[in-house]
């Protein structure tokens, strides 16, 4: 006998999936937009994009000053942060559902990602 998903479970799943897709689309569009803007700024101002990255702390101030390299790198950072953002969205959704197992799973994932970020600082 096949297991059918209950309507409540299906509705919650739909909400979670819709939110994740929204975060992915937004993150991707912002990241690509920043990368294109970085290329454009470089072409217009003749600002050189180096082969090496700037320190993470310098990227946002540099991007705000429309430095081509930092605008482009901000795009890369937004792209890399997008998967972490959908884990946060999943965490909030599971918290609302009081699904403690998956709250723990999402927290564990965010802890690993935080460790990864911590190693970069």
């Amino acid at each position: 006998m096949q297991q059918e998903q209950r309507p409540g479970s299906l509705r919650r799943q739909t909400t979670l999936y819709r939110r994740i897709v929204g975060v992915m689309n937004a993150g991707f569009l912002i990241a690509i937009g920043l990368m294109l803007a970085g290329i454009l700024v470089g072409l217009v101002t003749g600002d050189h994009v180096a082969k090496e990255t700037d320190p993470l702390g310098d990227i946002l101030p540099g991007a705000l000053r429309l430095r081509a390299q930092d605008v482009l790198e901000l795009g890369i950072i937004v792209l890399l942060a997008t998967p972490a953002a959908y884990v946060v969205v999943a965490l909030v959704t599971f918290l609302r559902e009081r699904d403690l197992l998956f709250v723990g799973v999402c927290l564990a994932l965010l802890a690993i990602l935080s460790l990864s970020v911590g190693l970069t600082l």
């Binding site: 998903q5 990241a31 890369i76 998967p83 972490a84």
Partner: protein, 259 residues
């Protein structure tokens, strides 16, 4: 087109054709794999092909593995990494060569699904056979440790881990192949992003190469999606296996200092 995320081809091409250092190629590939996952997973999520709950559980060990792999690759000599990558390419070629067209899902037959204590059951409509497919993944005790190996491979080689995750999900955990490919595609984004941050620390990220790789992989994926419907899958697989074998030999020879 082949469901491998692009990194398997991108890293050897960047090193062998463009002469980039392996760490720069791996970093660019990991960033491009994230872009491919983030841009391509939306369709599969909307179609309910992706099993998010299963992905999140496996991602704990996969992401930890990716972190370890990222730390390992920046400390290993490049020759060793290239030799290991050559072995990985041979493995992927072997998996691809043995790939069979999956049988139509037997969802019309009344089957007894296993217990589902973690509510990991998946359900989607397979439009190719116009059937609703129900499944319950099993074998988490094997799946979790093995998926950490996919993470290590992803972290070391910037490939995403799909060549290990998809066979794991289908052969060990009983996930239908379409759901497995979609779930794997979703997972590689987070896995690759964890290791890409390590490459940032190590100074392996070349912004110019990485952005070119991102646009290249996105355009390539769109072209692949259009072309794949017109090319016979067997012929496509054969060409891919030959290319992988050539890349494996070249990479292996570089690893041993012959090239």
């Amino acid at each position: 087109m082949l469901g491998l995320g692009g990194g398997v081809i991108l890293v050897p091409v960047l090193t062998l054709v463009f002469g980039l250092n392996l760490d720069v190629a791996v970093a660019a590939s990991a960033i491009a794999v994230v872009a491919n996952s983030v841009s391509g997973s939306g369709y599969y999520l909307r179609a309910r092909l992706t099993n998010v709950r299963l992905a999140l559980i496996l991602l704990v060990s996969t992401t930890a593995g990716a972190l370890a792999g990222g730390l390992l690759v920046v400390s290993l000599p490049e020759a060793v990494t290239k030799s290991l990558f050559a072995l990985l390419l041979l493995y992927v070629a072997y998996v691809m060569a043995r790939r069979r067209v999956p049988a139509a899902p037997a969802s019309s037959v009344e089957i007894v699904l296993p217990p589902d204590p973690y509510r990991l059951a998946g359900r989607y409509q397979d439009v190719s056979v116009n059937e609703i497919v129900n499944y319950v993944p099993h074998g988490l005790r094997i799946g979790i440790p093995v998926s950490s190996l996919a993470g290590v491979a992803s972290g070391m080689f910037g490939i995403g881990g799909g060549p290990i995750t998809v066979p794991l999900l289908t052969l060990v955990m009983g996930v239908p192949v379409k759901a497995a490919a979609s779930t794997s595609s979703f997972m590689v984004g987070l896995t690759a992003s964890a290791s890409a941050l390590i490459y940032y620390t190590h100074g392996s990220v070349n912004p110019r190469v990485s952005v070119a790789a991102v646009f290249g992989i996105i355009v390539g994926a769109r072209i692949g999606a259009r072309v794949s419907g017109r090319v016979h899958p067997t012929r496509l697989t054969l060409v891919f296996v030959v290319v992988l074998l050539l890349l494996a030999v070249s990479m292996g020879l570089q690893g041993f200092g012959v090239l």
